[in-house]
């Protein structure tokens, strides 16, 4: 009806646009921007290269510095003389990788990491969910949680060892104490910052109680929760490494034990190999979290394409 009527007062250009029946006419259509280019192979390869070259360069810089340090030979006869060049170091790592011992140690450590982290995730999420629902509790626990976060987790070990003895439980206990506060905090922050406008929209739609949580508050909290999970992992991994060095369990082979053995044998080259393994595991897990974090944010338009490589 009214839309077919054109007015003479408009310039030809605007008249043409407003005569379009399409929904996206108007200046508004300019906002849409070009469609996302499709993922043809050439573009994918370029993207992959863009993502990898900084990492390759980082590795090259580290190896180069290592080699220079070795070649400079300024250490003379001191203990630093035990440092071999990257060639020898990497050969040692390769050698260790041929033996079951390293893999067994990695298996144990990863298993403890997964167990401790899952435990922290469950406990942290439950605490976060409860605390965010009960305002007085929320006010009181805020400082407890941030206090726990500032406490270096290694300081808990004497307490944990007295409580649990020299065994994995002590390590898990400290991991949970290190990681759960961050995870709880992430969830609480997410719930706190659920946009009030969305809450109003949800309530007029008739969402309430569990449905409001399931369809609005939890999805809205997801980015902050994922950030909390990521930070929690960093704390858990640190606590685990400290734990494996401090809590020596007889007949238990872990990366911490291998590091300890290297220390006892004054075997710097092996120590470096184990450290490289620890570093790589940390980097891989961190990359998984970063990827999840970016995916979550991109799906909500919180990330521009330039950032999303």
């Amino acid at each position: 009806m009214a839309s077919t009527q054109t007015s003479g007062a408009q310039t030809p250009v605007t008249a043409e646009v407003s005569a379009q029946p399409s929904a996206i006419a108007g200046l508004d259509s300019l906002e849409l921007g070009p469609a996302r280019p499709s993922a043809e192979p050439g573009r994918l390869a370029r993207k992959a290269w863009q993502a990898t070259w900084p990492k390759l360069l980082a590795i090259a810089i580290v190896l180069g510095a290592w080699e220079l340090f070795y070649l400079s030979n300024f250490h003379g006869d001191s203990a630093i003389g035990l440092v071999k060049g990257p060639g020898t170091g990497l050969a040692n790592l390769w050698d260790q990788m041929q033996h079951a011992q390293l893999w067994q140690a990695i298996g144990t450590t990863v298993q403890t990491a997964v167990a401790g982290y899952l435990l922290a995730m469950i406990i942290g999420s439950i605490i976060g969910a409860i605390v965010s629902r009960i305002p007085p509790l929320r006010a009181a626990t805020g400082s407890i949680i941030s206090g726990l976060q500032t406490m270096p987790s290694i300081a808990w070990f004497p307490f944990a060892i007295i409580l649990f003895g020299l065994n994995t439980s002590a390590i898990l206990f400290v991991m949970v104490l290190g990681a759960a506060p961050s995870i709880a905090n992430g969830l609480i922050t997410g719930v706190d910052y659920t946009p009030p406008l969305l809450l109003r929209a949800g309530r007029t739609m008739g969402l309430s109680g569990i449905a409001l949580y399931r369809h609005l508050i939890l999805p809205a909290s997801l980015p902050a929760y994922v950030a909390g999970l990521k930070q929690g992992w960093a704390f858990a991994w640190r606590s685990l490494m400290a734990g494996e060095l401090l809590v020596i369990i007889i007949g238990h082979l872990s990366l911490g034990i291998l590091l300890n053995n290297a220390q006892d044998n004054q075997d710097l080259t092996s120590a470096i190999s184990i450290m490289i393994v620890i570093l790589v595991i940390g980097i891989v897990v961190d990359a998984i979290f970063s990827k999840t974090d970016r995916t979550v944010r991109r799906r909500r338009g919180l990330l521009t394409d330039a950032q999303s490589i």
């Binding site: 009806m1 009214a2 839309s3 009527q5 007015s7 007062a9 605007t14 646009v17 407003s18 029946p21 399409s22 929904a23 996206i24 006419a25 108007g26 200046l27 508004d28 259509s29 300019l30 906002e31 849409l32 406008l197 969305l198 109003r200 929209a201 309530r203 007029t204 739609m205 008739g206 969402l207 449905a211 369809h215 609005l216 999805p219 809205a220 997801l222 799906r299 909500r300 338009g301 919180l302």
Partner: protein, 276 residues
């Protein structure tokens, strides 16, 4: 004679005009969809209290499109929140006689993690529409607002006008009889707004929705409303009502719209001068 009748002016001999007086229904519109009776809203207490609305009374008839204009801060959003049940009045009553009420805000307020279709589906789900039906109904509603091709886009992939269309589809999904709109097109460019005016007019008359539409754009009010209600500066009260007979298609640049807009603007200016 003028096509626009001012409330309280001496009744002219058209049958509709004679029945009009403040707080009563236009004749022939049956019962009221929204009855706002002496609503007062005060935020806070003590010396710092903000008197947002003062004994405001207003009735929206069934199928009527009422536009509310007033200076910013005069309590328009507050009033809509109260009618929507998102807020409670300090005094007075709002009666929608059990009708379902949907509200649209200036921001589309879509859930950014859901696609356009899923946003609409969620509203259907909240009213317990069976699962098998939801997708079909959501697509139909998106078709209604001409967004059928964009059903699987997320809000951030849509333009501002398209997002507002999705919000409209979502409001329609609530199967409301009463639609409240709080400056829904305030953030859009003039051309997009023009298109959406046509759509909202079509949809509301097709579905016989009763609408309370808040805007600070006087021309928009004159373009869309069956009635334009002017509020005073804070605390908000109704100071003037203008009836707009449905005389056929209107455009934002129609002469009748311009004339009414001019009169409403004069009235608003007068009100603002009075309040300094």
């Amino acid at each position: 004679m003028s096509v626009i009748q001012r409330r309280g002016a001496p009744p002219e001999n058209s049958p509709g005009a004679s029945a009009l007086s403040d707080g009563h229904l236009p004749a022939g519109s049956g019962d009221a969809a929204i009855r706002i009776a002496d609503v007062t809203k005060v935020y806070g207490r003590g010396p710092g209290a903000v008197h947002a609305i003062d004994r405001l009374s207003l009735t929206v008839g069934c199928g009527e499109f009422v536009c509310l204009v007033g200076a910013s801060g005069c309590g328009k959003s507050t009033l809509l929140s109260i009618v929507a049940g998102l807020d409670t009045p300090t005094a007075g009553q709002v009666d929608t006689a059990g009708r379902r009420v949907a509200i649209m805000f200036q921001e589309p307020a879509l859930f950014p993690w859901l696609t356009a279709r899923r946003n609409v589906e969620l509203a259907l789900r909240a009213r317990r529409v069976p699962k098998q039906e939801r997708t079909r109904r959501a697509l139909e509603l998106l078709e209604t607002v001409h967004l059928g091709d964009f059903a699987d886009k997320r809000p951030h992939e849509l333009s501002g006008g398209m997002r507002q269309r999705v919000a409209m589809a979502r409001a329609l999904a609530q199967d409301a009889d009463v639609l409240l709109m709080d400056e829904p097109f305030g953030a859009l460019d003039a051309m997009t707004r023009d298109l959406l005016h046509d759509e909202i007019e079509r949809i509301c008359s097709e579905r016989a929705l009763s609408v309370l539409f808040v805007t600070h754009n006087v021309r928009e009010a004159a373009r869309l409303g069956d009635r334009v209600v002017v509020l005073s500066s804070r605390p908000g009260r109704v100071i003037e009502e203008y009836d707009v007979p449905r005389t056929g298609p209107r455009r934002i640049d129609s002469a009748s719209v311009a004339e009414l807009a001019g009169r409403v603007t004069d009235r608003l200016r007068e009100e603002m001068r009075r309040h300094g």
